[in-house]
Subunit: 287 residues, 2 copies
């Protein structure tokens, strides 16, 4: 579908995009650029890598689609860096977990009068406990939600091509405005991260050996607390306002539970548990 | 090891005890009693059931070990019901998630001058998303923590036999006083349940379709919110004071995170995330 794509800063997600694009025939030619020379050396030998570039500018020169897979605080700097080197009509997207600021600034970075390139943000809701390009999988996006987040002013054709790209990797694409995206993920992704991390931080203050008694419940509830703190600090920084709003909604619910327990209002305790169950039961299994 | 055990009100746990006792040779003869006649009919045909009793009293008459697998609010009533029918020197245990009140009242119920029976509480930290005796597994306790919770006055020999029974099913037995147990599980089991349920109850107030965008993070963090609300209401009721204490500790941590976000104190945000990761990383994999 694309003759040539470039993937910048591939980790788990970037390598999975490359493998999936090859597997599903979504790109004829795949160029990669990684920040570290040793990573570039290793990537060179992968069957899903046609060319390694020494610089971001060199990587994007002939690409119709550029996918930036760097951490959220490094995405806009990379867009700025490649802006002057993009091919005519090129599309730039990313895989960052926050979209409002990135989409507005990405759009601005490509808005120079001479540029015909378009920025269209993306965010695949896929990941793994493992990080690093070595763990990339061609089926990482199959059945997973991928947000595509154009601004109201974004070129409709460019948006359509980005949607088609992710759909070709067998994901479920949802097109929403960047700020709506940030509200959604604040609730379904960033809030759970904050909750899992603070639960662990709170348990760490008691006897940490208690963890060895735990069953599957605590294990599952806290799994994502093992995520990279630096990465998540950046995500929370970029989505601070929405995360604070979601966190305050959550605290109200928690206080309602505390009140019910304190007042021995067992009817209300059970009602909260039942509302929780009613929300959780219809979750679809992940393929 | 035991010539004869009786299992009252077998669900997932009780059926797993029966299967495991048979598999590991921990009991020569296994008698079951279930409240519903239709369940008794089905159990009769299981290879791990030697006899079905029509009443709890009849079930325990010849047993050296009685394992009560009913929900927490039905355990003490069952102990009271069987007290006069126990064999000389019989041991009664249970699998309830809360131990303080159950152990004190179970002990009292067997303290009649004519009785030579002993109550020793147990709590296996094992379970499954599935409930019901049909899902019982002989390996449910392998590598799992099982609490055995004698009172300071409990007969040491009786405690030792209960410990040996669970150890024979290849679990990791930990002997702790009932109140210490309740503090531990308030933190590592009941608090995670409250957190998962309130997270879901809070998300239910936003657009519930957002759940379809979620990745593995929300799914894992909220899995136990699908548990039985009635069962958990009883557990929270029995362990109210300890759960409230754990919940207040947790709310302090959550407020620290809220403050750090509100103050844009990114150093503190990352510090909390790192404390959470340090607690979570050493979790041993479950066999």
């Amino acid at each position: 579908m694309f003759d040539h794509i470039a993937i910048l800063a591939p980790g788990l997600l970037g390598a999975s995009v490359a493998r999936a694009a090859r597997h599903y025939g979504a790109a004829k030619r795949i160029t990669l650029w990684a920040r570290r020379p040793e990573t570039r050396l290793q990537l060179k030998d992968q069957p899903w890598c046609d060319r390694i570039a020494e610089t971001p500018a060199e990587a994007v020169r002939e690409a119709q689609l550029v996918i930036i897979c760097a951490p959220v605080d490094q995405i806009v700097p990379l867009v700025t860096q490649i802006a002057a080197h993009l091919a005519t009509g090129a599309i730039v997207t990313d895989v960052g977990s926050v979209k409002g600021e990135i989409c507005r600034q990405g759009d601005k970075a490509l808005a120079a009068p001479a540029s015909s390139a378009n920025f269209v943000g993306s965010h695949p809701m896929a990941g793994s406990a493992q990080t690093g390009w070595e763990h990339g999988r061609a089926d990482l996006f199959v059945g997973r939600a991928v947000f595509v987040t154009p601004l109201p002013t974004t070129d409709a054709k460019a948006t359509e091509r980005v949607v088609a790209f992710w759909a070709a990797l067998e994901s479920n694409v949802a097109t929403v405005e960047p700020d709506a995206h940030d509200e959604i993920v604040a609730h379904i992704s960033h809030l759970p991260q904050v909750i899992a991390s603070t639960l662990c931080a709170s348990l760490a203050k008691k006897d940490p050996r208690w963890r060895n008694f735990s069953g599957g419940g605590l294990r599952d509830t806290t799994r994502i607390a093992s995520s990279d703190p630096k990465l998540w600090k950046s995500i929370l920084e970029q989505n601070r306002d929405e995360v604070l709003r979601a966190l305050r909604n959550y605290q109200e619910e928690l206080q309602a539970m505390e009140r019910a327990l304190a007042n021995r209002d067992w009817f209300e305790v059970q009602a909260i548990l039942e509302r929780g169950k009613a929300y959780r039961d219809p979750f679809r299994p992940i393929p």
